[in-house]
């Protein structure tokens, strides 16, 4: 019976941990909600093991633990997919920001008159007619790479 208490304590610790993360703003609510629901669900199942047996019988799974494993796998799969989707969104946002940043920097340089072709003429010319004053001062040092 002590195994149940141990499992139940683990579930409870999980809920507490999530709430702590949320309170410290280390975890956004839209991600935490799923986990809290799951953790609470596991707490209930841990406290009342009979529930999972009833569900297993209802859906026609012979071994209740297999139902648990299957549900856990599906849940983890869903979370992985959700994270991939979120990362894709983040990458697109990063890309847009990088573009905007680069274009803004160009505008700033142009306003400062430090972008060579803008300062001299609209048509870029060979190295002879547009000396690279700005290249040395701003072009080279600014890029951290």
């Amino acid at each position: 019976m002590s195994g149940y208490y141990f499992a139940w304590a683990c579930c409870l610790a999980l809920v507490v941990f999530l709430v702590v993360l949320l309170r410290r703003r280390r975890l956004r609510e839209k991600y935490a909600l799923t986990w809290i629901v799951v953790a609470l669900g596991v707490c209930v199942l841990g406290a009342f093991p009979g529930v999972i047996e009833n569900i297993a019988t209802a859906v026609g799974v012979v071994t209740p633990s297999n139902l648990l494993f299957a549900m856990a796998l599906i849940l983890l799969l869903a979370v992985c997919i959700q994270l991939s989707v979120e990362i894709t969104g983040l990458e697109e946002e990063t890309r847009t920001l990088a573009e905007e940043l680069a274009l803004l920097r160009f505008d700033v340089e142009t306003l400062q008159g430090s972008n060579a072709p803008e300062g001299t003429s609209t048509a870029p010319d060979g190295a002879t007619t547009t000396p690279d004053g700005p290249t040395g001062s701003s072009g080279g040092s600014r890029r951290g790479a």
Partner: protein
């Protein structure tokens, strides 16, 4: 851009660590098209690409990250759209595209009444050969994309492309950064948005410096990824664009 009236033609060169080839390419382009503006989109290079381009007199947009050709080109199209250019031409920074061909590709926009003109490597001019799976993949892509675009396209992975204002507006909003997205998928996006795509045969020259970004060992993988890119691009809903599906 300041008060000067911006010239019509913008040549965009996405450049990632191209400090060796870039100065020569820029010089040749300027000699071939003195009125065109040159924009180098420095795609997060770790070498002196940006400085070298500035010294050669080109405008430079420095991306803080390496976004890939598609990412660099969307920035280029945004630049073109915001600064009111009529035509934007994408040219490789490694010197594979002959500057003399730029005028022909641009000219075809008007003569063929096209929105996008591709400088194609297998259209009769020049001698560019690839072999093995890469070749099959390119054949397959050509056939399928020709069908989608409703015109004969022989080189769908060409990085040599002229776009008019309509295409610039579309590409400024939607130009995939994914592998092959800048070539295959962008053509699908353009044709489904109702843009007219044509091609012009161009000559391919050997690279003038740097190392090729295409590793020959990855050629086989290219086939699979190309097909995947095409299938996914085709299954997407059409982009909301300036025209309707043709």
């Amino acid at each position: 851009m300041t008060g000067d009236r911006p010239p019509n033609l913008l040549i965009v060169l996405p450049a990632w660590n191209e400090e060796e080839a870039l100065p020569g390419v820029l010089r040749e382009l300027h000699e071939a098209l003195p009125t065109a503006d040159l924009l180098v989109v420095n795609d997060g290079s770790t070498d002196r690409t940006s400085a070298v381009a500035r010294r050669a007199g080109a405008m430079v947009v420095d991306l803080p990250l390496n976004l890939g050709v598609g990412g660099a080109m969307r920035a280029g199209y945004k630049f073109a759209a915001r600064n009111d250019y009529d035509i934007a031409v994408q040219v490789d920074a490694d010197g594979q595209h002959a500057p003399a061909d730029v005028a022909r590709v641009v000219g075809a926009l008007a003569t063929e009444q096209a929105d996008v003109v591709i400088g194609a490597r297998f259209a009769g001019t020049g001698s560019y050969e690839v072999g093995g799976p890469r070749r099959w993949a390119m054949k397959l892509l050509s056939l399928s994309l020709s069908k989608v675009a409703g015109t004969r396209l022989t080189d769908t992975t060409s990085g040599f492309k002229a776009s008019n204002r309509r295409a610039i507006t579309l590409f400024a909003a939607d130009y995939p950064a994914e592998y092959l997205g800048d070539t295959i998928e962008s053509l699908v996006i353009a044709s489904r948005a109702g843009l007219t795509i044509r091609q012009v045969g161009v000559e391919m020259r050997p690279r003038q410096g740097g190392t090729p970004s295409h590793n020959p060992a990855k050629a086989a993988l290219f086939l699979g990824r190309a097909v995947l890119a095409l299938v996914i691009a085709l299954s997407r809903p059409a982009a909301t664009a300036a025209g309707e599906k043709s």
